[in-house]
């Protein structure tokens, strides 16, 4: 049956003066399958949309082309209109004659607009309906990890009414690596206690993940505790496995000094221990810190150094010297902290190269060239706090490959897109928080926690996910089970499944699919169709040019 295409052209309230809309409409009317052409000035306003709905019904249209503004703006509204008129929303194609034609060029552009319209009409003929389905989701969330970021995430998720399970590989919470930082007034102990009391939070310790399957809203996680495996359903998974630190391998001299004079060179953690335990008579008179010499972007070291230098100064009254390159203070509150530290008398020595660390009479001697004085400064310290660098914990890599998510060059989880989707992974429904994604300062971790709670809520709180059914689909008859799509899918959305005929074929999960079309492009058997972007639909647009 011949298509009944309705063409709606909107001049955007006379916002496109360089197009002859009458001519455009006449050209469109001559194209095969076009049963009606209507001009409008307010298609996106109430009046316009109402008119559109009745037009579709009256003219008995089976697909619609709209030539107007960018589909980025209003396509979703127009799709809703189609649905309201009883047409499937996918049977719409738009010609962007405003942003990409009228506004982009000087002078008369009716011909180009007509071209764009022909392209859209070429495509619309081939469009097929895509059904939607409500998919009920599990509203339980799994948080992997037992440190600060994991506990804060669990508490916040529980706060919004989502049942949360915390899975920690250690026997107790809060004992993992990377937990030595000053928590800015947040008391870890009471947070753990609150989590333990919370009826909405399950805590599993000595537990590990054996396998993960499924899609957002419907993950099946197999967990191993005390040698027994249990499988449970979760709607979303948050990885909050934290990080660990190591003293920098740093200047060779430092290593020697550490060996020769183990009492004189300490880590931030050791310093914290000393701050709380050391008797008055043992207080070191001169304390040095090494900062940002090995990694100038390490917010972790910067915050720890500033906090601890301040603590040393105020509790012990020692002379404090910080050997640094550029103290980067981009974390929230860090600049204030830096000022405070300076004002209370901590001396920052800006060095242009790594200072020389030697041992002199059982004490550590640090020699550096001060950039501002233009002179060498040599300071013999009673205590030298070495620079520490953050590293991913061991399980990061294992979990990464199990979840099918990437690691960055430092071995931390790599965000999907740091600007747009900071706590998302490429696997929908799997999120990262805090140290395991390379955010080591508390302020950022708290931001992450907020972001992740928002994302998880958006995903699970409605109780169901609306999915397009088989928008991207493998034709089991054409599939040769070459596994290419499974290997290339960025979202782990494709699996090999025994299909009805008894042979194996790739099957795409509607829930997990993010509709990128990477699989459709690469399939060597041309067995994958992406409704709206099928080969013939793309080629029809090219054919219509000219």
């Amino acid at each position: 049956m011949e298509a009944r295409i309705g063409v709606l052209i909107c001049d955007c309230g006379q916002g496109m003066q360089n197009i002859d809309f009458g001519a455009l409409a006449r050209q469109a009317a001559d194209l095969p399958g076009v049963t009606s052409v209507n001009l409008s000035s307010d298609l996106c306003l109430d009046e316009g949309t109402k008119k559109m709905v009745s037009l579709i019904k009256d003219e008995n249209l089976d697909r619609v082309v709209i030539a107007a503004c960018s589909p980025d703006m209003k396509e979703h509204i127009f799709r809703d209109m189609l649905e309201k008129a009883g047409l499937n929303g996918n049977l719409l194609s738009m010609a962007n004659i405003r942003e990409q034609c009228s506004w982009a060029h000087d002078g008369e552009v009716t011909d180009k607009a007509a071209d764009l319209l022909r392209m859209a009409i070429g495509r619309v003929r081939l469009l097929r309906p895509v059904e939607h389905r409500e998919f009920p989701v599990s509203t339980e969330v799994l948080v992997v990890g037992g440190g600060f970021s994991a506990i804060s995430t669990a508490l916040r998720l529980s706060g919004v009414g989502l049942r949360t399970t915390v899975l920690e590989s250690e026997p107790v919470l809060g004992e993992g690596a990377g937990e030595k930082e000053d928590l800015h007034g947040l008391d870890r102990g009471s947070m753990i206690a609150a989590a333990e009391r919370d009826g909405n939070i399950d805590i599993l310790t000595c537990a590990r993940i054996a396998s993960v399957e499924g899609a957002p809203g419907d993950f099946t996680v197999t967990m191993r505790t005390d040698g027994t495996e249990t499988a449970r359903k979760f709607g979303a998974i948050v990885l909050a496995t934290g990080f660990r630190t190591e003293l920098t391998p740093g200047p060779d001299a430092l290593i020697d000094a550490r060996e020769l004079c183990s009492a004189g060179v300490v880590s931030q953690e050791q310093l914290l221990g000393m701050l709380s335990n050391l008797g008055l008579e043992a207080r070191p008179a001169i304390v040095g810190f090494l900062l940002d010499l090995a990694d100038e972007n390490s917010r972790f070291t910067t915050l720890a150094t500033l906090n601890n230098a301040l603590a040393v100064k105020s509790r012990w009254g020692s002379e404090v010297y910080v050997f640094c390159k550029d103290v980067k203070v981009d974390s929230e509150g860090t600049e204030r902290l830096y000022r405070e530290t300076r004002e209370c008398g901590v001396v920052f020595l800006k060095c242009d190269s790594a200072p020389e660390v030697t041992v002199d009479n059982g004490k550590v001697r640090v020699e550096a060239r001060d950039v501002f004085l233009g002179d060498d400064a040599a300071i013999t310290c009673d205590l030298l706090v070495a620079e520490e660098l953050p590293f991913p914990v061991q399980e990061t890599e294992v979990l990464g490959s199990m979840f099918g998510v990437r690691l960055d060059s430092g071995g931390f989880y790599q965000d999907e897109n740091v600007h747009l989707y900071p706590v998302d992974s490429e696997r929908k429904g799997v999120f990262f928080v805090g140290g395991c994604r390379g955010n080591w300062d508390i302020v950022r971790v708290l931001t992450d926690v907020s972001s992740v709670v928002t994302s998880v809520c958006g995903l699970l709180c409605p109780g169901s996910i609306q999915v397009d059914v088989e928008k991207v689909r493998v034709d089991p008859q054409k599939c040769v089970a070459c596994l290419t799509c499974i290997r290339v899918c960025p979202h782990s959305a494709i699996q090999l499944v025994r299909v009805d005929s008894g042979r194996d074929a790739a099957v795409i999960s509607d829930l997990a699919c993010d509709a990128c079309g990477v699989c459709a492009a690469i399939c060597p058997a041309k067995a994958i169709e992406f409704e709206g972007y099928r080969d013939d639909e793309i080629l029809a647009q090219i054919e219509a040019v000219g």
């Binding site: 054409k478 040769v480 070459c482 596994l483 290419t484 290997r487 290339v488 399939c523 060597p524 058997a525 041309k526």
Partner: protein, 219 residues
């Protein structure tokens, strides 16, 4: 699985230079899986040939078809009409498919568009490695399941050559592990190194009499 790769375009064009109307025929089995001759590759090659024609001012008409297995006469039958309508066939199947096609449509010139390279497996997306030399005299029982006949650059049967590079890499290809080091490590892991110490007599190079021919023992 049989691995192949597309021939250089220059060679393909030389093959079909005298002809105007060409059937580009893909195969839906091995060469589809190794990205050399499935429906997708058929489309790309046909397109490139049409472009080549137009750049020379010569009209090239292409038909496209992909059958499940070109090495099956019965599966080629469906191409009869198409083949009859063209001047030549360009087959993207392995050597077996090309020959079956050439035999089935005897009066039509049939040309290979791929080079059949080896029997292998995908190591990862888009990378295939040779695994089997079809020697007809399988040694894998003695080598921990690693074939020295093709995975050793020299096909040695009694241990590595003296050229093994640091870290057990192959003399010829520093990126590849020396097959004998792989064999050694696997047998060591399984506590079966004695197998490697056993003398392996010269191979029966005629285990398969060429041309190979196998009758199924059972009816």
């Amino acid at each position: 699985m049989i691995i192949a790769e597309r021939k250089p375009m220059e060679e393909i064009r030389r093959e079909i230079a005298p002809y105007k109307k060409i059937l580009v025929a893909g195969c839906g089995t091995c060469v589809t899986v190794c990205w050399a001759g499935g429906e997708k590759e058929v489309g790309i090659l046909a397109s490139q040939l049409r472009l080549a024609g137009s750049s020379e001012g010569k009209e090239v008409v292409t038909l496209e078809a992909t059958v499940e297995r070109q090495c099956e006469k019965e599966m080629l039958a469906e191409l009869r009409d198409k083949v009859e309508g063209v001047d030549a066939v360009l087959s993207l199947a392995c050597g077996a498919g090309v020959q079956t096609m050439a035999g089935f449509f005897e009066d039509k010139p049939v040309f290979p568009a791929v080079n059949t390279t080896f029997i292998g497996m995908p190591e990862k997306e888009g990378l295939w490695v040779e695994m089997c030399g079809a020697c007809g005299d399988c040694y894998l029982d003695r080598t921990g399941g690693v074939c020295p006949v093709v995975r050793c650059a020299k096909g040695l049967l009694n241990g590595p050559c003296g050229g093994t590079r640091k870290g057990g890499k192959c003399e010829i290809n520093p990126d590849e592990d020396c097959a004998w080091v792989v064999i050694y490590r696997r047998l060591e892991k399984q506590g079966r190194l004695d197998l490697m110490r056993e003398y392996c007599a010269p191979k029966n190079a005629r285990a398969v009499k060429r041309p190979g021919r196998i009758h199924a023992a059972k009816a």
